[in-house]
Amino acid sequence: MPDTSHLFTSLPTWQWQLLLAVPLIPLVGYVIQIFWGKHLPRQGDWLLTAGMGVVMCITVYMFFIARGHSSGEGYFIAESLRDGFGWDWLHRARPQAEGLSLPTGLMYDGLGAAMLAVVGVVSFFVHLFSTGYMKGDRRYHIFFANISLFTFAMLGLVLSDNILFLFIFWELMGLMSYLLIGHFSQDPTSHRIRQAAAACKKAFMTTRVGDTCLLFGMAMFYFLLPEHFNELVEQGKIHADKIGGTFNFTLLWQRASMVVEANGGAYPIWMTTAGLFIFGGTVGKSAQFPLHIWLPDAMEGPTPVSAMIHAATMVAAGVFLLGRTFPLMSPTVLAVVAAVGGFTALFAATIGCTVFDIKGVLAYSTISQLGFMVASIGCGALGLVAGLFHMVTHAFFKSCLFLSAGSVIHGCHHEQDMRKMGGLRKKMPITFACMLICSLSISGMPLFAGFYSKDRIIAAAFGGLSLNFNGGTFAATVFLPLAACLTTFYMFRLIFMTFFGEPRDHHVDEHAHESPWNMTVAISVLATLGLFGGYFWLMHPTSPLGAHGTWFTEMVDWRTMYPGVDLTRTNLAGMAASVPHAAAHGGSALHEAGAAAEHLAHFYHGFNPHVTAMIASLAVLLIGIALAVQMYLRRKWNPAKVTGALGEGYVWVANKYYIDEAVQATVIRGTIGLAAIQRWIDENIVDGLVLTVGRIGKALGFFSAWFDKHVVDGLVNLVGGLTQAFGSIARLFQSGRIQQYVSFAVAGGILVAAFHLLT
């Protein structure tokens, strides 16, 4: 096995301790809050917010340390176990022995650093925002406790160095999302108690499907990878010692790539299956079609929770998982990933255009943007970086959008219907400014954060299509620009309906006011990040268009993300088939892969698709804005007429393609029907048997009773009678006086003693 330890960076122990403190601070905060929160001043919100502030400071500080390490071309990846900082979980005494051994530690690399900083920053501002938004809530302290544990789960997930711990935190996050989405279901005064209860159950059950897939995928890699590896070792195709199962990311990457290389670049079928299972986890958690149905309903939770779920924690976890397991994915899996992601992006965007709930629009927007990320990752190595980059920028502007929406809802006295808003621009200037900035950002306006990532995604899709033509990349290439266009349209539809025009509802307009400082500060900071977060173009000394790459691409590079793994020889080898001049070499798949790598490198620096992509994305941006202006600002085209013209199609979209109904009709009805059948069997067959046994027992019992009454009782009575007869004789001696008894006893004792002494 090649020695790759020189590729790992070593961090000093105090830095590991800082990183360990990052998840532990919210955990400790949770414990304090859940037990004593109610009795703390202000119900303890300051405690958790301050703790999260500390976490933010640590993550940002560590981010800059990571940035310093990764500024060059080399690797930056650190594992605490290599620095002697970790736990031997389920310790196994002898390494060769059978059984489970799980050394567990922290992992910190460019992706982890970026993600950790994003989670820290967004969580802190969500906490800050919540101190204003949730004021007066009946379960205020519980809310803070839960959201803190939610953050803990995400921070732990990002820092995990193995997939099992990732899975544990992943599940914890599922539980916390359940509790938080259902926050109002525990509040008897809430008027949305039923909807909240239903939504949290739906979210929990739906993501469970994906989680089960992930568990299967995990288990397959744990058990099958060493089996296959050891087989290849025996065949002499790999020169290494035999191995046992592992969950560790770096070991999984290296071993999987060795297996694939030994197989001549071909992925074994089980690895494809396992990759699909792992992708199933992403589908559930990141709300990809067809498991996206929980996410719109999750809007029943408080708005800060939505911001957390959509920006920093829940859905990002799915994409993060793809980033962590990318080397394990075969080209086939990647094609599926791209297809599912592209389809989801367009599909959700169309629904987003028809929703009137301000948070609903943002919810479908999130599904669509997640589709972008997933599709991008499916398009190959360039898309991987672009998709992860989009995850980061998306976290900034989507959290800002949600919190701004929360600010609007707060200002409008908990009114969420956009049709009742309008003209809020003057009343809520800060909110409006933040929302506008982030809308431009999500739409991909040049120089805004979203532009850099979205542009890269579209470029990656184009590039993927030219490198490796398959259904997935084709779907991505076709669907993503369309989805981008619709994104612009529905975002500006939201802006125009909410902030422009005349007030449409007198009641709402009367209440409208700017939010308190803690909410506006939070959204302002996040809007600033939404503007500059992609690339600090105002501060960068060189080209504003980022020819040297953005900060993210400097930190996260597909060539240096996975130490000891050459993606061009494994994961991307399948692409070689379609490289035009690769066939000229006429060599094996690996040769072709080398050619593909060359081509990729050219591609990366050559910037061709970038220009195309930029033109395309600017075009769709302008088309989207123009549409929105025509329909909702200038009102040239009446939206009602437009929808009327669309006819049945509009009804179909507005009802979200009837997917909820389809699930209801197939999965849920099917389950209920199965349960009914089982119930019939239980009631008629099983119970019938039991009753028969009972009847037989009863008959036996009658006989037994007769025997008992006449034979056994007769004997007992006889004994009793004899005892009574003897007792009436013995009674003559029983005077009831203690003294007499003692006299008898002593006299007896003396007699016995005398007998002994005399004989």
């Binding site: 029983q734 009831g736 006086r737 003294q739 003692v742 006299s743 002593v746």
Partner: protein, 100 residues
């Protein structure tokens, strides 16, 4: 002093205990007599222990006898108080409901 001296004291104490029990009519005297008898047996155990090598066995018996006496005194006193409440007398001869 030899073992026989202790045994003599012990048997005299035992006799006095028995006399105490059988000659007085108050139930409290019964309790006192029992304590004397227990003490007499304690002396026996302690003496045999001492004159048989001074190990642990005999004194363990005495310790358990003392424990037993403590438990007995508590329960017996509770019974005496109960009997007094029931029969308005502490004479054992009058608590004779079981004779019926």
């Amino acid at each position: 002093m030899g073992l026989s001296a202790y045994l003599t004291v012990s048997i005299l104490l035992f006799t006095l205990g028995v006399i105490c029990i059988i000659s007085r009519r108050n139930v409290l005297y019964v309790l006192m007599g029992i304590e004397m008898i227990l003490n007499a047996s304690s002396i026996n155990f302690a003496a045999f222990n001492r004159f048989n090598g001074g190990g642990l066995e005999g004194r363990m018996f005495v310790i358990f006898i003392i424990i037993l006496a403590a438990a007995e005194a508590a329960v017996a006193l509770a019974i005496v108080l109960n009997v007094f409440h029931l029969f308005h007398s502490v004479k054992p001869s009058e608590a004779d409901l079981l004779r019926e």
